[in-house]
């Protein structure tokens, strides 16, 4: 059997992955599923960015407590992203403003970007996944 070179096993290609979240957290499964996929990308040591647009900004609102609606409080998982080296979290300024929110309302450190800046970041990606 032919030997396969070592380098094909280790390392591998690193691509720039952007995950775009535009949905509120508890009314549908999109937000929770997105978070799962972000963790998969991180496990494969890809260059991961996570963007929160429109109602997606509600996903990282602090003090979420789902005990009375009987669902999983996955908002806490966003705080664990740092351990998976997912540190590029971006929030669109315009989306927060329309919803009466500021950076103080969020439960994770993020970079607040304008629509234009988010658009430019998107242009730099190899893969853009939408939720």
């Amino acid at each position: 059997m032919e030997d396969i070179p070592e380098e094909e096993y280790s390392g591998g290609v690193v691509k720039k992955f952007m995950y775009v979240n535009r949905r509120a957290p508890h009314g549908s499964i999109y937000a929770q599923e997105s978070l799962e996929v972000v963790l998969v990308g991180a496990a494969f040591e890809q260059d991961v960015s996570v963007v929160f647009l429109d109602d997606g900004v509600y996903q990282i609102r602090k003090d979420q407590d789902t005990s009375a609606i009987g669902t999983k409080n996955f908002s806490k998982t966003f705080r664990a992203l740092e351990m998976y080296d997912v540190e590029k979290l971006y929030v669109e300024k315009e989306s927060m403003q329309a919803r009466g929110m500021t950076e103080d309302d969020l439960n994770v450190p993020v970079e607040v970007k304008t629509s234009e800046e988010i658009g430019r970041l998107m242009e730099e990606q190899d893969v853009v996944l939408s939720f």
Partner: protein
């Protein structure tokens, strides 16, 4: 006949709340549940429309759904009453019919 309208979608994603405000007649009630509770928040671009509608409609918002989304009573617009699950049942029983504006 007094109707109870329930709205369960975010007003920033769907126009359910907008439609509800358009069709709800004076004296009826609107209960914001699930993602609809975002419509009750202070400081949003929708506050004007809700304040205007508050002159003819009674607004309620479901507390457990607020809490799940990191919102407290302090985040809710003045004039919107926070109710719990028992309050939800009382509203349904207290109106002639319920219209779920999905």
């Amino acid at each position: 006949m007094a109707l109870l309208h329930t709205v369960n979608k975010s007003p920033f994603e769907k126009n359910s709340l907008e439609t509800c405000l358009r069709i709800a007649v004076e004296g009826s009630s609107v209960l914001l549940i699930e993602d609809g509770v975002y419509g009750a928040m202070n400081g949003t671009s929708l506050n004007g429309a809700l304040s205007d509608a508050g002159n003819r409609l009674q607004f309620y918002v479901l507390g457990p759904d607020l809490k799940a989304r990191g919102l407290s009573e302090q985040d809710v617009m003045e004039g919107i009453e926070v109710v719990d699950y028992d309050g939800f049942v009382d509203l349904v029983v207290g109106h002639d019919a319920t219209h779920a504006c999905l």
